[in-house]
Amino acid sequence: MLAPALLGILVFFAYPLVASVFFSFTRYDLVSPPEWIGLRNYEYLFTKDPKVWSAALNTLWFIVFLTPIKIITALCVAGLLARARRAAGFWRTVFYLPSLVPPVASVVSFVFLFNPGTGPVNQILRFFGVDGPLWFNDPALAKPSLLLLGVWVMGDIMVIFLAALLDVPKEQYEAASLDGANGIQKVRFVTLPNIVPVLIFALVTGIIAALQYFTEAAVASGVASGKATVGSGTASMLGYPDGSLLTYTQWLYVRGFANYQLGYASALAVLLFVVAAVFLVFLLRRVDAFNPEGAK
């Protein structure tokens, strides 16, 4: 009965993982047979790669800022929607709808909205006498601009929070009220403990998504640079402006598919896997300690 699941794990998880580990010790360009070179890819990664650490820092930025801000915003919106008395369905639709927009389309729209010269955001700011920033064209603001997009499309996690909030037993709130708890205390001692599993789910999936952040940053770079195209030259636009949007996975893609260094790209992938695994194991253990039911 477990055979299909086992087959799936072998084909889609174990094989790629073992393959990546093997290729990470080789010189491999996809076409030629892999050539064993020992730890050389890792030596290059840790001592010579000129961009891997800046790409890793950019990715870390998205983990530290995008993930929690998106979760907090989604939780707040879900909390408001859970209390909505009128037109609740309408507001749920309004907040959920952006998450249905394909990532490429939403990024393109945002970059055009925030275009420093012709975008409506800066035109409105100009109307009020404010000189708008360069948004996606400014290395200091490109990532925060993508954060705005991330918040806009938080509908997917918001509906999960909403379901969890609506699932909290009302009796517990009533009991807390009888005990004299105020609003903040109800959230602290009733709401949060009840939705911890959902919060953990959002945090874990959010961190994994941030570790693999690619499409939004890549499209934003292409469109903001004014050279949006497909095929030849796409790799050259990744990271614009000034490397500020070059994430770890984009760098992995460049090395693997634009520079034909799939062995080295595999080493980058293995490091990403190890970091993600350590990060998540650490996170889950910490959370376990905070969760009274999970304490050993």
């Binding site: 080789t26 076409v31 497909v230 034909y260």
Partner: protein, 450 residues
């Protein structure tokens, strides 16, 4: 039923070993291909041959038109055309050991180093020698970008050439009669044609010197100083080239003259390069460096634009290079696993060396032919603006970016540093270029080092 710990460990080890073996075997598959060819070309062609190319929509129809001609000339041959196939797909299919691809057509010369060195595309020299193909029809520069390390695994199929576009109306208003020929003249004319808004922001730029904007790349600017990219061993020659610092200093001075922040704000507000809002179409740029395909875009999207073209200016001391430029293009080859190599060669030869076919492709795609008979053909549709690109293609000093084992990794490394340099973050130029050399050489070593 529970397995004992030992049994489970053994099962896990066995599974791991099996997967590792599968990985190694899969990595080794697809290697090797026959290089023996028929002693003479077949007198009559018969069978089915596949062509994988990247073109889509209107451009795919142009390709199909030439394929139809080929089939009409060879009634026994059917060509299966697969359009919209990029380099990644080509490489994956070839790497899988498939015989689906006979002829592959790529948009990039960056892939030539990989295709030739791995044997993904077959060595064409035996076919060329056997059939007596006149390679002198193809310029040395074009020959250089379609082969790697002495292995000719590809033939050129049209090219892109870069030159200076200038707005004649804006020039006439300023009383300027001809395009600048030196970089100093370019700066002078550009500053004269630049206009500012009341708040000091740029209204119109004579020429945007920003590296990274549209077609402003080191490779397109490089011919102004004859900038060399790689040495004979495939390692970086950028830091030791005398021309690059001259060019970079000119560009940095130009940026500083206008102001980095002003340029950045102006550039950020420009329309997309491949749209009707291209800043040269709209008159926001009086001059721009671009490829011959821009003439087709202008015909379609800004037909009233009165413009001219000229070779890109050269630096002081490099005036003898004026008239040359940058050229790069599409390449095609026979896939390693091709089951019909003779048919594939016949099709490839037709697409790359038949004058009528190349002229028809060039007229339809608005790209530059890569054989001299097509460049000089009376059937080639040549406007005054397009003539410049033909002349540059024929110029023996015209340059290209050589194929490398790291694809376009070396141009990217240089471009990234140049962008920092123009922003004032590049530090000492000599040290910066030495750093670019190291970055490129380390990357090459990772692929080809001992």
């Amino acid at each position: 039923m529970k397995l004992s710990t030992t049994l489970r460990r053994r099962a896990a080890m066995g599974t791991g070993a099996a997967i590792a073996a599968a990985v190694i075997l899969s990595g080794c598959s697809g290697a090797g291909s026959g290089t023996e060819i028929e002693a003479s070309a077949p007198s009559e062609l018969e069978g089915t041959v596949s062509l994988w190319h990247f073109f889509t929509d209107r451009e795919a129809e142009v390709i199909q038109g030439v394929i139809d001609d080929f089939e009409a000339e060879n009634p026994g041959v059917t060509v299966e055309v697969h359009d919209g196939q990029d380099d990644e797909k080509l490489r994956k299919v070839i790497a899988a050991g498939s015989d689906d691809i006979d002829v592959g057509l790529s948009y990039s010369t960056a892939v030539v180093g990989n295709l030739c060195s791995t044997g993904a595309f077959r060595d064409l020299q035996p076919y060329i020698d056997r059939d007596g193909v006149d390679m002198s029809e193809i310029s040395d520069t074009v020959q250089a970008y379609s082969q790697f390390d002495g292995v000719r695994c590809a033939m050129p199929v049209l090219a892109d050439v870069n030159a200076l576009f200038y707005n004649k109306e804006i020039f006439a208003e300023a009383g300027i009669e001809q395009a600048p020929k030196t970089l100093d003249e370019l700066t002078e004319v550009a500053l004269e044609l630049t206009e500012y808004n009341d708040d000091g922001s740029i209204k119109r730029l004579g020429f945007n010197p920003f590296i990274g904007m549209y077609e402003n790349t080191p490779s397109h600017f490089g011919p102004a100083v004859g900038g060399e990219w790689l040495d004979d061993d495939g390692y970086s020659a950028i830091g030791s080239d005398e021309g690059w610092p001259v060019l970079m200093q000119w560009q940095k001075d130009f940026v500083d003259e206008i102001g980095y922040d002003k340029l950045q704000a102006f550039t950020a507000g420009l329309g997309q390069e491949f749209s009707a809002d291209n800043a040269f179409h709209t008159g926001q740029l009086a001059m721009a460096i671009d490829g011959e395909y821009r003439t087709a875009f202008i015909d379609d999207q800004a037909p009233d634009l009165d413009y001219g073209t000229a070779p890109f200016p050269t630096a002081t001391g490099y005036e003898d290079l004026y008239g040359a430029g940058y050229i790069v293009g599409n390449i095609a080859g026979i896939a390693k696993g091709s089951a019909h190599p003779e048919l594939a060669w016949a099709l490839l030869k037709y697409l790359s060396t038949d004058t009528d076919a190349v002229v028809k492709l060039a007229n339809g795609l608005k790209n530059v032919p890569t054989i001299s008979s097509a460049l000089e053909s009376p059937d080639l549709e040549v406007t005054d603006q397009y003539r410049t690109f033909i002349d540059i293609a024929l110029n023996p000093q015209t340059m290209t970016t050589p194929p490398s084992l790291v694809g376009d990794g070396y141009t990217q490394a240089f471009g990234d540093y140049w962008e920092k340099y123009q922003a004032g973050k590049g530090g000492d130029l000599a040290e910066g270029l030495a750093g670019v050399d190291k970055e490129i050489n380390d990357s090459v070593d990772l692929v080809a080092g001992p």
